[in-house]
Symmetry: C2
Subunit: 419 residues, 2 copies
């Protein structure tokens, strides 16, 4: 089964927006065992779009066309695909009702173009749009090819893909074995090092298969089993996961595509009712802001400090001037005091501190990327960690934040083991 | 002049990374007056890559191939293009010397594959790689087409495009008029509203042309003049900018592609020696962390507070409990106290406060997206602003940060006017 993705839109073609839809759909198809062999981007131009459709049909069993379903005069995708397949466009009553209701609620009248969004290609399975008005189409076997026609706005596309496209594809291609995936997430090991440790496993496994993926400092491993028996699928996944955990379990922190180190940490904090604060120098609030991305964190995170200048380290949290004078700002001692004082100020169970040189310049003779991270955990003495990051300013700050989160996670886990 | 971009790489094809190189190159070419009419993505597969080259040649005057220049066995782009054009690969001595030095410095020995990165296609202009080892190629008139072969890692591609590709294209296509651009940046107006206000200008102008672009809550307008006389270019740009400023000047904040609201604000702060702090609730450190992205901000930013819980608003900066009790956390009064107290604590010229409901849940009956922002500016009384954002949690927090930065900017500008 070979798929091809065609994104339609002059704003993608001219680089005004990144084609994130293509990567989302490609990953989603891969998880269903359908590999994308070619991608195209064309502008809002009927002649070029139809040429792209013809080329794609030659190469692929499934052609995914995204974008150009809206109500403006530029939106012609549905019309072009219908013409190419020599089919009519038909009104979907449910979608039309949604559009009517939407306009009634906003007190405006429906334009003629708005009705276009309720049209589908004759013979297609209509794909509902829960984040917008334009419906999508799944057409089985036209010109010996299957077609998906999806909306361009990422919010609409992603939800339609997850709720409508996946079930439609699974139902249609059910003769092929069902794929079941499990995603393992790691921190503290690079993708290349992870792949190297798992090399034999990756090379030898045919079912399940293993694939690594790195993004924003975290690495994930997707284990995919192909079988129609769901118990058998879980058994296969368990078996491989056990081997994986034996090799790289030290770096494992959680499961799932829609997960992250900060989510796992915040869940643990909430579960154990552990409160947290931070005193941040080079990260300047990025650690706390990252905690703030997780809804519900307010139960365990009262707030904290950004102590960017040495003076603020003294004024806000009372790091003694002679500690900074004797050991420097970038030191284990300063990190220790920052964590301890922050913990005391807000009476939290945990406090994390960050002090170092984000870059591009060095600080006190410490090269850019040198960072001390302190962790005050309940009554135990503060532990500190020295890091040497070698990326640019923003990525160095981000790696420091992730390392701090990981220190918190490991401390809680150690505590869980004792309990 | 029509261009086509081909990205080579299985990791893009399968959606493991976004194809940000394509949008970068497309924007860069557009700024040179070269429009991209088609994009493709193919995997690390010589047969499919050569088929893509043949198709692109049919459509385009300039074919840009990106990715697959590295030292691994998957990296075959240069070899495939050379074979397709029936040319040899030739060693570039300068690049080879760089590779040799790199390995000597790291104490490792050069592998055979590493030498591949110093090869260029016979007859090509060699494009130096200042962020990596693989050189690029610019081939003029092969198969009636021009070819660019560029590295895949974004750091390498972007620098090579800016420092090597742009001058090469400008020199080669000098018969066409030279394009000179000026980028104007706006905040506080959406792209659609900006385009609407400028509609007549955009529709009528042929030289210079105007193009809008929206990203991450900011909007830019690129004005591009086409002429070989650089004085004439500046005159044309000045003339159109004057008309633009008359229509939307209230929202203008700065110039340039590589600029942002936070950069402009930090530059102003440093220029006027104005110090700044913040007390952040829903943004949880994002405002301060954003200040921290700009190098040199330490001169004006000592640090600040994250007062996520009501208790921290009292404990850390001394917002009176009865203010919160009477007016609520999400109120002009609380925002005022937060800004004033933060300013007093760190003796800064400016303090910004944020309190509100990031979402998805409401807070104290205020719907998600309701945010009060306070600004304490030198000795003047604190001004507050009520915002209603309607995006998701992360975007609401980001829009709050941008709005706070804009309030700071406008206050400094008003001060500059008085002086």
């Amino acid at each position: 089964m070979q798929a091809e993705i065609i994104a339609v839109g002059t704003e993608i073609l001219l680089g005004q927006i990144d084609n994130t839809n293509a990567s989302y759909v490609a990953r989603g198809l891969a998880a269903l065992g359908i590999n994308v062999f070619h991608q195209q981007v064309v502008g809002d131009n009927p002649v070029r779009l139809e040429a792209a459709l013809r080329e794609a049909e030659e190469r692929a069993d499934l052609v995914v066309v995204m974008g150009g379903l809206g109500p403006t005069k530029d939106d012609l995708t549905k019309q072009v695909v219908a013409k190419h397949l020599q089919r009519e466009l038909v009104l979907d009553e449910v979608a039309m009702q949604n559009i009517t209701t939407h306009y009634q609620n906003s007190g405006r009248s429906i334009g003629n173009n708005d009705r276009l969004q309720a049209l589908y290609i004759a013979g297609a399975q209509v794909l509902a749009n829960h984040n917008g008005m334009a419906v999508g189409d799944f057409i089985h076997q036209a010109n010996w090819t299957d077609y998906l026609v999806l909306p361009g706005p990422p919010r609409e596309l992603k939800l339609m893909f997850d709720t409508e496209v996946k079930p439609a594809l699974q139902a249609t291609y059910q003769s092929t074995a069902k794929l079941t995936s499990r995603v393992l997430r790691f921190f503290g090991i690079g993708e290349a090092a992870l792949a190297e440790r798992l090399e034999t496993l990756i090379d030898q496994q045919k079912n399940p298969t293993l694939a690594t993926y790195a993004k924003d400092g975290e690495v994930t491993l997707r284990i995919t089993a192909s079988t129609n028996d769901s118990n058998e699928a879980q058994r296969l996944l368990d078996q491989v996961e056990k081997q994986v955990q034996a090799l790289v379990g030290d770096f494992f922190y959680g499961y799932g595509d829609d997960n992250s180190l900060v989510k796992v940490v915040v869940e643990k904090l909430i579960k154990h009712k552990l409160t947290i604060t931070a005193a941040e120098s080079l990260t300047a609030g990025l650690f706390q802001s990252t905690l703030g991305t997780v809804g519900g964190v307010s139960a365990v995170f009262p707030g904290g400090f950004v102590t960017y200048a040495a003076s603020a380290k003294q004024a806000l949290i009372g790091v003694p001037a002679d500690v900074i004078k004797e050991h420097g700002v970038v030191s284990s001692e300063t990190a220790t005091w920052m964590a301890k004082k922050a913990q005391q100020s807000l009476h939290t169970d945990i406090a994390v501190s960050f002090t170092g040189a984000a870059g591009p310049d060095s600080l006190e003779g410490n090269p850019a990327g040198t960072v001390w991270i302190g962790l005050a955990y309940r009554g135990t003495s503060v532990q500190t960690k020295l890091c040497h990051f070698s990326d640019d300013r923003q990525m160095n700050r981000w790696r420091a934040v992730l390392t701090g989160l990981n220190m918190v996670l490991r401390a809680i886990e150690a505590d869980e083991t004792l309990a």
